[in-house]
Symmetry: C2
Subunit: 116 residues, 2 copies
DNA sequence: TCGACATTTCGACAACTATCGAATTGATTA
DNA sequence: TAATCAATTCGATAGTTGTCGAAATGTCGA
């Protein structure tokens, strides 16, 4: 019950600060690419795998991983020397919902609206 | 038919560059707040209205408006000295869809995944 | 035409951020 | 214990970005 409610709350509620943190983490193209790789992998993505897939230095990768983790977008599992990255469930959904809400809240733009 | 297809394509397709531009525009908290005000207004929001609602200088507001417009999130209608801002339909939806796709593409994280 | 007003541009500044090489830390194995 | 390897931290650098005051531009009305 508590867990169920907690998960539901997480899926629908984002504070302004959290929203900002998420959007900032996603705004960097390299980071988004990394997140895509993590999301599309069929199981937790090895850090080493990410490294060989992207032309960036280990230091830069580490930095990006930390940014994604800090924003709460991914989870990092450590097994000895090896790290495995996975998408944290529900976070992107919550953000997407927030954006859709904004779209829904708006009134249709008049057709005469100039786009100069 | 062409228009219908065009709108459909817009709702479902975002290039990487466009996606990045959108996320960068949304990542600033002030800008997001401005977008929220535009979205929630029942008709195009007057620039002057935005100005009086937010504690930022005219220069800063102008800068943010330009960023939102350049990213393609809003349209600006000019009536003499006055500008009116409105949300461009479908853009937030397209972005939200992209995020949801990413969520869907991921595999469920194992419960044993450590969150250190 | 001038003055008032709405908005933008310009230049400066400070803060933030992506990237890297080098050094460090931590885990594993011989 | 030392060597190897995975990943992080550190410091530096260059680029980006938000913010502002002042100046400039554009519109309108007297």
């Amino acid at each position: 019950m508590t867990t169920a409610l907690k998960n539901t709350a997480k899926a629908t509620r984002l504070s302004n600060a959290r929203r900002t943190a998420l959007l900032k983490a996603l705004a960097d193209p390299r980071r988004f690419e990394l997140l895509e790789r993590i999301a599309r992998n069929n199981c937790p993505l090895g850090c080493a795998q990410a490294r060989s897939a992207m032309p960036i230095s280990p230091a830069t990768l580490s930095h990006h991983i930390k940014e994604l983790e800090t924003a709460g977008l991914i989870d990092v599992r450590r097994e000895g020397k090896f790290h495995f990255l996975s998408l944290r469930p529900g976070v992107l959904d919550a953000l997407a919902s927030k954006l859709k809400l904004l779209e829904t809240a708006s009134c249709p733009a008049p057709p005469a609206l100039a786009r100069k």
